[in-house]
């Protein structure tokens, strides 16, 4: 009861802090849009444009107006969810992104769950048994994991599991053409297929998902395992663990009730950075596996110089990441009672 008001204030403050960050993100994406090589109007007018149509595009897009006015228009468009037209698909960028987002999220979240499920126990085991094979395994996984270029791991996995062993399906998209897409409910094929009770399609989607998700998980595993191990080591050598030992608490209580809960705090903080890496690596993995998410959309757009689509993608990713960070920080507030108080 006593703690309620400062903590509430801390939470509100954290939410408020996201506002200037979002504004900064919008400013940077505006700068990126307007800093296009050469004249943006030339790009947006298309390849076959002549002087007149370029000028027409310029006026239509408001590029003849001063920058602050352009920025105001940009923000106004954003508020209506308008990210511009995609040249290649001919549809609004926002629509394209919304259609493809579930595919990306399904891939990234599956990978993160796999990574957390493996990395956290690995880190804990390594910290509680220093010098054993688990510890060495952890160290190898950690160093190798951050050194692996995701696009290369993906290609290697395809070569081994598709070409040599023949147990993985061809690395093209979310579902083999012999299956029908499940009805769109969440956009996550695994969930939608399960909702329909169509387990054959579910299995088909899972088979397609497993290689790209494993590729991404290998990459994100390393920082999580490393941080878990380090945080666990710090917690285990802390004074309060010694107090708990001296009071005769069982190993289980000391390890999980005392050490692990405290070690979780820095691990949760690392998750923000891990998300950043995962969302970036996601682009590469999607390209390798021809995964129809927003990452491969951006790569395809890059190839044909469809800049509105690329910048829309960058902005969308940033907003997604800001939201994820906010969730992580609020999660942190929930598990650390000290938030909102001056630490002495």
């Amino acid at each position: 009861m006593l703690a309620a008001s400062p903590r509430l204030r801390a939470i509100l403050l954290r939410v408020a802090q996201a506002i200037p960050v979002v504004m900064g993100v919008v400013v940077i994406s505006f700068v990126l849009t307007r800093a296009l090589p050469g004249d943006p109007a030339v790009y947006f007018a298309g390849v076959a444009a002549d002087e007149a149509s370029i000028e027409q595009t310029r006026v239509a897009m408001g590029l003849d107006k001063p920058l602050p006015v352009q920025f105001a228009h940009y923000v106004a468009d954003l508020l209506q969810g308008d990210l511009g037209q995609s040249l290649s698909s001919g549809r609004p960028v926002a629509t394209d992104l919304a259609n493809r987002l579930p595919a990306s999220l399904e891939l990234t979240l599956t990978a993160l769950i796999i990574a957390v499920v493996i990395a956290v126990p690995l880190g804990v085991l390594a910290a509680t048994r220093p010098g054993t094979w688990v510890d060495h395994l952890c160290r190898i996984v950690v160093t190798a994991g951050v050194s692996l270029p995701t696009f290369f791991t993906g290609i290697l996995l395809i070569y081994i599991f598709y070409y040599i062993l023949g147990i993985a399906p061809s690395p093209l998209g979310r579902l083999d053409f012999i299956y029908l897409d499940p009805d769109h409910v969440t956009g996550f094929y695994l969930i939608d297929a399960a909702l329909m009770g169509d387990w054959e399609t579910w299995w088909g989607a899972a088979k397609q998902l497993i290689l790209p998700a494993a590729t991404l998980a290998l990459f994100t595993l390393a920082p999580i395992a490393r941080m878990t191990r380090a945080a666990m080591l710090t917690a285990l050598s802390s004074d309060f663990v010694r107090t708990a030992r001296a009071a005769g608490l069982s190993n289980r209580t000391v390890l999980y009730g005392y050490a692990f809960r405290n070690a979780l705090l820095p691990v949760v903080t690392t998750l923000g950075m891990v998300f950043s890496f995962a969302l970036g690596a996601n682009v590469l993995v999607e390209k390798v596996f021809a995964w129809p998410g927003i990452g491969s959309y951006a790569v395809e757009a890059l190839v044909v110089s469809d800049y509105a689509a690329v910048q829309g993608f960058v902005l969308a990713m940033a907003l997604l990441f800001v939201a994820l960070n906010l969730v992580i920080d609020l999660l942190y507030t929930a598990i650390d009672p000290r938030i909102g108080f001056d630490a002495k």
């Binding site: 940077i28 951050v146 696009f151 061809s170 995962a278 969302l279 970036g280 690596a281």
Partner: protein
Amino acid sequence: MSDITPADLPRQKGTLDHILYVLRANPVTLIAFGMFAFLILSALFGPALVPYDPLATNAGNALQPPSWAHWFGTDQIGRDVFSRVIVATRLDLTISVAAVAISFVVGSVLGCIAGYWGGWPDIILNRFLDTIMAFPLFVLAMGIVAALGNSVENIIYATAIINMPFYARLVRAEVNIRRDAGFVRAAKLAGSSDMRVLATQIFPNALPPMMVQVSLNLGWAILNAAGLSFIGLGVSPPTAEWGIMVAEGANFIVSGEWWLAVFPGLWLMFAVFTFNLLGDGLRDIVDPRKRT
């Protein structure tokens, strides 16, 4: 400094002992130093030593698997993969070293100002860094290269920008914890100005953790640059570069011509692995307790 050179003797001895100890306890660090030397040598002398011109095509000799004549095989237009992989070392290292150097310098200056004086420069810097870090970093790099144009310099700038926050934050933290340290206050009592205190007392103490960061970041910068060229940004064909070679080779992997993608990929991994091992080794040397 010159009038007190004997002062450095015991320190050098102590440091040397310590380095020898770390190397003996952890031979992997020694191997990492060896791998690093190999990379530097390939970058310096590789282009002069490789057996084939990395750009020479030979349609009659396309897609040959590894052999004595072509250690890493040949690609779809008959270029020698081994020569291309070695020659690419110089370009990839240049990109990452240049990017890390820029972010090191800019990050250090900004971090020092914010960490030492605090106040509004600190607030502005933090907001700015928050904004950069609000983007998934690889995605930001994509956006920057897409906006600035497809060139090697722009890859360097983009990589420098996404690396900069790490240095600025690290320096800011290192400077901040020492701002009120006893030896800093003592230096002020000895008549040193703020700038002098910062340059001679505080910053040198922040260097060891920075060197660890530099080493780890070099690996990361290589990964980023290769990732960007993998999706078609920055370096353009037919230039030999690991990311592009993997991207080109990827098309042949499903038909079994694995060597096109695997060798440049392995080389890329080797380089990143070297820098990561080196970073961990430096961390051991700098602070054995932080070893994770």
